[in-house]
């Protein structure tokens, strides 16, 4: 059938397509891609780009649509995001859709945000393509979430982005050729994968260097002033040396370490009350502090006093997940009012707004009397005045949860 380009139907189609600025391509749209419908659409509309003024494009990346995505890549794109379905992660690498061509033709001049959430193993084959794409980005770039290791040239290019605010980094530590005086983007959010943890000592060293030098290079703002979100996406040792480096980033609101103690190394958490007290004093703006899931070994050196320090110093704290030794929970609660140092700390008026205490797999002390449970509940409420919930595995913490809710005048939770 002959297509009539001058027809009012195609004219209307082109007009409406030109109006489109943001398109979220859904999985269901694959049916338009699989058949020849999309081919006929391109032929009939006689346009190279379906939506020539598109600014924002988000889609699930599939084998069906990979051939057609380039027809949505307008030169006006400011936001670009592709991701694969979680089920794709189990598919053999050779069967995964290949984004090579997309990375090569993606217009980057206006791009402000790019997120590529594909199977990392598959992406790692694309280091050269990603590096080449990064070299084409301009100073408009604000968000870079492309979890691919970068070569030295690409790293140099990224740290030169003056407006970059969000960076997901899986790179190896910075090359030795990256001097501390290098300008670094004023990041607000930094997410690191395991191979990129080497950035932290470098950044900490740089912070110290900036503090030491008065009137450094123009625009060479330290992350101390800008960084609010810091996430470690894979196992990290939660030890004093690691945590002391993080204390330099004073504006942190979210500090997240995805650590667990299930690996061969055993419990990864070796902080003391003193370490956490120092951390809380250094990072008073913390809203989320998650330092790995509490494990049931109950061998950590942190006890109730560190909770008090966190509540007093971090008054915006709303989510807390740390190891806590519960062996002598009742004694630790009582010592809060007996120890002169802790009494002074407890007399300070500020408290955080924590609602849920995350006990995780921490064991609740055995043989605890009704009176002891009340003492523990009252002690926790004294530390966290907004507390109404305790999250945990198993049933050990149930009596405490009931008592906390009773003290706070909150109705009992319905039994599951």
């Amino acid at each position: 059938m002959e297509l009539n380009d001058s027809g009012s139907g195609w004219h209307r189609f082109r007009k409406h397509a030109t109006w489109m600025r943001r398109l979220f391509l859904r999985e269901e749209d694959d049916r338009w891609m699989k058949d020849d419908v999309f081919d006929r659409l391109l032929a009939g509309s006689q346009v190279g780009l379906v939506c020539p003024a598109l600014c924002l494009f988000t889609c699930y990346f599939t084998r069906a649509n990979q051939r057609f995505i380039p027809h949505f890549l307008s030169p006006h794109l400011t936001h670009f995001a592709i991701r694969v379905r979680p089920s794709y992660r189990n598919i053999p690498r050779d069967l995964l859709p290949n984004p090579t061509h997309i990375l090569q033709v993606l217009p980057t001049s206006c791009l402000q945000e790019i997120s590529i959430d594909l199977d990392p193993n598959g992406l790692y084959r694309l280091e050269d393509e990603v590096a080449s794409m990064i070299q084409r980005f301009g100073q408009a770039l604000r968000v870079l979430r492309v979890p691919v290791p970068l070569g030295e040239a690409a790293v140099h290019h990224v740290v030169g982005f003056k407006n970059l605010r969000v960076w997901t980094n899986v790179c190896d530590p910075p090359p030795s050729t990256l001097p501390l005086s290098t300008n670094f983007p004023p990041l607000r959010t930094l997410t690191l994968r395991k191979d990129a943890y080497g950035w932290i000592p470098w950044l900490a060293q740089r912070e110290r260097a900036i503090s030491d030098v008065q009137g450094g290079p123009v625009g060479n703002v330290g992350l101390k002033a800008t960084l609010t979100h810091l996430r470690f996406r894979e196992w990290a040792p939660v030890d004093p040396a690691f945590i002391s480096l993080l204390s330099l980033f004073q504006n942190l609101a979210i500090l997240f370490v995805q650590s667990n103690c299930a690996g061969p190394v055993g419990c990864a958490f070796s902080l003391t009350n003193q370490d956490l007290a120092q951390l809380s004093a250094a990072l008073p703006r913390l809203e989320v502090l998650e330092l790995g899931r509490p494990c049931p070994t109950n061998t950590s050196l942190t006890t109730v006093p560190c909770l008090l320090a966190l509540s007093v110093h971090c008054k915006s704290l709303s989510s807390l997940c740390i190891h806590l030794n519960t062996t002598d929970l009742i004694g630790d609660i009582q010592s809060l009012s007996e120890d002169p140092g802790l009494r002074d700390l407890g007399s300070l008026p500020t408290r955080c707004r924590l609602v849920t205490f995350k006990a995780g797999r921490l064991p609740f002390p055995h043989l605890t009397s009704d009176e002891d449970i009340t003492t523990i509940a009252a002690g926790l409420v004294g530390i966290f005045p907004s507390l109404i919930n305790v999250s945990f595995f198993g049933s050990g913490w149930v009596p405490l949860l009931s008592r906390v809710r009773e003290l706070q005048g909150v109705p009992e939770l319905a039994s599951p």
Binding site: M20, D29, D35
Partner: protein, 82 residues
């Protein structure tokens, strides 16, 4: 003729109020309306010719599927029409 206190009557039989000729204003109203209640933006587009294009363009700005775009093309159900 109905006279609302203080507001001069504007005949609307074959012309819209002149305020609708302020393109920037109409587009801003359309965008706001789309973000609040898309159905009302559709009604706005149907109100008069002056409002049709700004309201429609605001409605078309954000699409969460290709289906509607394909629907306005001469290709429907795999067939070409026009």
């Amino acid at each position: 003729m109905i006279e609302i206190s203080g507001i001069p009557h504007v005949p609307t039989s074959n012309m819209s109020h002149r305020i609708f000729e302020i393109d920037e204003l109409v587009r801003r109203v359309s965008r706001t309306l789309v973000s609040i209640h898309r159905a009302s933006a559709v009604s706005l587009a149907c109100t008069c010719r002056l409002l049709e294009e700004p309201a429609l363009s605001s409605l078309w700005e954000l699409q969460d599927s290709l289906a509607i775009l394909i629907g306005v093309s001469p290709i429907v159900g795999g067939e070409v029409r026009d």
